[in-house]
Amino acid sequence: MTKDLVFITVIGKDQKGIIANISNAVFKHNINIEDLNQKIMGGYFVMTLLADTTDSPITFSQLKEELAQIEARMGLKIQVQHENIFKAMHRV
């Protein structure tokens, strides 16, 4: 079965609890974390999290709304995008 993979990307000021908050939010909706990458780029905390949403009952817009709350609370920029867009743009 093909997986429904999404990238959750986070940009913002480094602070305690970013990964904890996001992983908690995705776990709550039965989303599995497949991979996680983070580093400091140009003074900003940058993270990409690859998540498998195949078994999750929620829609893209519901996941976005959930993460938007963390975004507002912690002053971050969080994007949710299906993996296919990265495959199209970065793989021939």
């Binding site: 990307t9 829609t59 893209f60 976005k64 995008q81 867009i85």
Partner: protein, 452 residues
């Protein structure tokens, strides 16, 4: 992870900071099978077809925006040229009645513009074509969302100068019936109009198209400008390469979203139009790219060469990314819709003659240019003839969207509002073209059209 953090962040940053978006998804709809000799039945058929598919287009496009995190700015519809479908209607007000139905159907479901009110008259006009042209001033001043077009020339057929004569007068009439002449912003005159163009105001669903066709216009002047900014010191060969690579990426994103949207709507996927299209947003400007390449102001010597390099690189990157490149696929240089173009006009760097030269390398014509309200009808016709000749002789699409602004003279400021932007009225030559234009007839097709 299959993708590096840098690759993922490149896409994210394009969207967040460089205005990367899908500029338009335009659903082409055939209306020929809606025709009925009873105008009321005909109108009902058109309303149901347009509003039904329009509603689906909006819903499905919204879902893909959520899925891919790439904004789809405009959701639009193009229809069969209205001159073709009103042929059998004897009621004198049939063209306007159909336009009002298209307007209402669009408004009811949230489609911002619907294109196709027009005709193809490059060799001559049918009675229905004439009715459409005659109705343009009333139609454009009594509807909000309906866009009009007229194709008056092709490389194969030459240019219908009788139609061009009429258009000078028609534009003045449209202008006098709408505030600041803004009705003219919804009307394009073409040479070699493509049948699958997704961009307004000139979109229509051509007769060679299937019942439905989903066409997509990608965009990213902001993205291209940012890569040019990052490559300040490289030579023009290398600059062309980086622009090509960037365009490849954004075209692939457009193709992905276009195909998926077409499949979700259950309609055939048409084309990706790879035109760079400016918006009024600061930084989202084609002139801004030319200036970032090292030309002080758009219009200064070097602008045409810079634009030629830009559009060539865009085409090469786009053609590698999609097997279905179509529509206009040029580079738009609308004056009022591009903040850097506007500034160039304000400071005197850019005049209409230089704009005409720029369109020789980029398409898509003299676009969104405000001219003095007292410009003579024959002079407007002559400007149209000049621009369309470039298209006819070079075998490419050129269009004209001129706005004579009532009561304004060269240098005056005018605001058209919203997406249509703001601009300064351009100076037009005061020398007369009257005798040349009024000769009328048909300019023959160029020898280069004889290819068989």
């Amino acid at each position: 992870m299959e993708y590096s953090l840098e690759e993922v962040m490149e896409t994210v940053q394009m969207t967040l900071y460089h205005n990367f978006d899908i500029r338009t998804v335009t659903l082409g709809i055939n209306l020929k099978d809606c025709i009925n000799s009873d105008l009321d039945v005909f109108k009902k058929n058109v309303y149901e077809r347009v509003s039904g598919y329009g509603k689906m287009l909006i819903t499905e496009a919204q879902k893909l925006e959520d899925k891919y995190g790439i904004p789809i700015i405009n959701k639009r519809i193009s229809v069969t040229p209205v001159a073709l479908i009103i042929e059998a209607c004897v009621e004198p007000d049939a063209p306007i009645e159909i336009a009002k139905v298209l307007d209402k159907a669009s408004k009811d479901v949230g489609i911002d513009y619907i294109g196709g009110y027009g005709a193809l008259v490059q060799k001559g006009m049918t009675r229905a074509d004439e009715r459409i042209i005659d109705s343009l001033p009333e139609m454009l001043s009594h509807t909000e969302r309906v866009c009009a077009f007229l194709n008056v020339a092709t490389t194969v057929s030459g240019m219908n100068m009788d139609a061009v004569i009429r258009l000078g007068k028609t534009l003045k009439e449209i202008s006098s019936m709408t505030e600041n002449g803004v009705g003219c912003a919804k009307f394009v005159v073409f040479a070699n109009a493509p049948e699958d163009n997704p961009f307004m105001a000139g979109a229509f669903h051509g007769v060679g198209e299937p019942d439905f066709s989903l066409n997509i216009g990608i965009s990213g002047p902001g993205v291209v400008r940012s890569v040019v900014e990052k490559n300040k010191d490289c030579n023009l060969t290398d600059l062309s390469e980086v622009i090509k690579r960037t365009t490849f990426k954004i075209t692939r994103a457009g193709e992905l979203i276009g195909r998926e949207l077409a499949s979700n709507l259950g309609v055939p996927f048409g084309i990706v139009d790879i035109s760079l299209a400016s918006t009024t947003k600061v930084g989202d400007s084609v002139a801004g790219i030319v200036e970032m390449m090292g030309v002080e102001k758009m219009g200064a010597p070097g602008s045409t060469a810079a634009l030629a390099l830009l559009i060539d690189a865009v085409k090469k990157g786009g053609a590698m990314a999609s097997g279905n490149v179509g529509g206009l696929s040029g580079t738009f240089i609308p004056v009022s819709e591009d903040s850097c173009m506007n500034e160039a006009v304000r400071v005197g760097a850019l005049c209409i003659e230089k704009l005409e030269a720029l369109t020789a390398v980029c398409s898509v014509g003299l676009d969104m240019i405000a001219i003095p309200g007292d410009t003579k009808a024959e002079t407007i016709s002559a400007i149209i003839a000049d621009e369309l000749s470039i298209g006819v002789v070079n075998g490419k699409t050129t269009g004209v969207r001129l706005i004579p602004v009532p009561g304004k003279k060269a240098g005056d400021y005018v605001n058209f509002g919203g997406l249509l932007g703001e601009t300064y009225v351009m100076e037009i030559s005061s020398f007369s073209s009257h005798d040349f234009i009024l000769r009328g007839g048909r300019m023959p097709s160029p020898i280069t059209s004889m290819k068989n």
